[in-house]
Amino acid sequence: MNWDWQFTFEVVVPRLLAVVPVTIQATVLSFLLALVLGLALMLLRISPLRVISIPAGEIIEFIRGTPLLVQLFFLFFLLPEIGIVLPPLTTGIVGLGIYNAALCAEVYRAGILNVPAGQWEAAKALNLSACRTYRDIIIPQSLPPIVPALGNYFIGIFKETPLLSFLAVAELMHASKLIGSEYYRFTEAVTVAGVFFLVMSLAAAALVRFAEGRIRGRILH
């Protein structure tokens, strides 16, 4: 089997470059959804009412305990049946977002529980409102362990996007499989897709480290 450079540069690279925005879009939107939904799940989870906190904990465990692929298929088949017809990319973003929201909720919770009880008591003694307690006391102190973990989930989501190819979302992996079956040349298509993932993942890791440094600098000063 010989490697065809001409085919690589004339067909594979341009067609894969064309779908890179889809992968990036899926990653960023899923991450944002996970951040917001995770916060909501965490707030339900730490609710003093056990009627709310126990089901919330069960839901988080259920999402964390089943494979992402299973959840994507589940959404893909269930949503149209109950009358919600979404484009595949949206279904994929929702699936990735929900799965990672459960992971984010646990990260948030760990961060908040990490704040010593004395801080809560002091805020209460100073008669701070719930809003100010969270905004000025609890959240700034819980961020340092949360931020790096969220950064890892961002990269994790990026590496989970090829699973969306099963929902026929036109992202990198899907495009490379398509090229492979059109030209009967999988070697170049899959290898270049792998290189794309590697480069973008390393870039994302550098970005996350940069953002971490910036956020840490802002918290400390």
Binding site: M1, V70, P162, M173, K177, T187, V190, L198
Partner: protein, 229 residues
């Protein structure tokens, strides 16, 4: 509007009818998890030990391996190994072989990082003590360093094993009859995708929870000793 009536029409007699197939798929998933975890852990520990060498080339090679497998998606590695490697080398692998191989290569990278952190957590005094007692390299590792490192490694290892179990679902694309593939195959012929996928999710959850429970017990027995307050 959401059509909740559909939920009332769900027919869970279908997954029940195919329960033995689903359970055999679960067994295949479990075996894949077991093989990849065992092989990945063993190779990962060896990689972590070897990467303490003074030879920069070997260190760089292992670091490159770890970074490569941690920074590309498992699905890409799987397809690359299954479709491209046979074309490049001429060795044809069955789906089961390439699936297990890809999963093992992938998790080895993670295990090697866990092992590295565990080994690094052993204090310098332990190394110096072993040297002062005149221990050779082998007994230093096996009797002094690794027993202490393994204790620290138990919690991340437990999480990793459960992740591997969930990751086996991806292997279903290579026509390995694991739980996910059995469920999708039956749903294609019985036209009951929601019921079959739900049943698969429940089975994954049950075995995953049992694994987590087991991991918790192992952690309590062999995990890092907590300072008593």
């Amino acid at each position: 509007m959401i059509d909740f009536d559909y939920l009332a029409t769900l027919d869970f007699s279908v997954p029940w009818k195919y329960r033995w197939q689903l359970l055999s798929g679960l067994w295949v998933s479990f075996c894949l998890m077991l093989v990849s975890s065992a092989a990945g852990l063993a190779i990962g520990i060896v990689f972590a030990m070897v990467s303490r060498t003074r030879h920069a080339v070997i260190r760089w090679m292992i670091a490159g391996y770890v970074e490569f497998f941690r920074n590309t998606p498992l699905l890409v590695q799987l397809i690359w190994l299954h479709f491209v490697l046979p074309l490049l080398t001429g060795i044809n692998t069955t789906p089961l072989v390439s699936g297990t191989l890809a999963l093992t290569l992938n998790v080895t990278a993670y295990f090697s990082e866990i092992a590295r952190a565990g080994i690094n957590s052993v204090g310098r005094g332990q190394w110096e003590g072993a040297q002062a007692l005149g221990l050779q390299a082998f007994p230093t590792w096996v009797r002094v360093i690794l027993p202490q490192a393994l204790r620290v490694m138990v919690p991340p290892l437990a999480g990793m094993v459960i992740n591997i179990f969930k990751a086996t679902a991806i292997l279903s694309i290579l026509a390995i009859d694991d739980l996910m593939r059995v469920a999708t195959r039956i749903s294609n012929s019985a036209f009951k995708p929601v019921e079959m996928i739900t049943a698969a999710a429940v089975l994954y959850l049950i075995l995953g929870s049992l694994l987590a429970l087991g991991a918790d017990r192992v952690e309590r027995k062999y995990g890092p000793r907590r300072q008593s307050a």
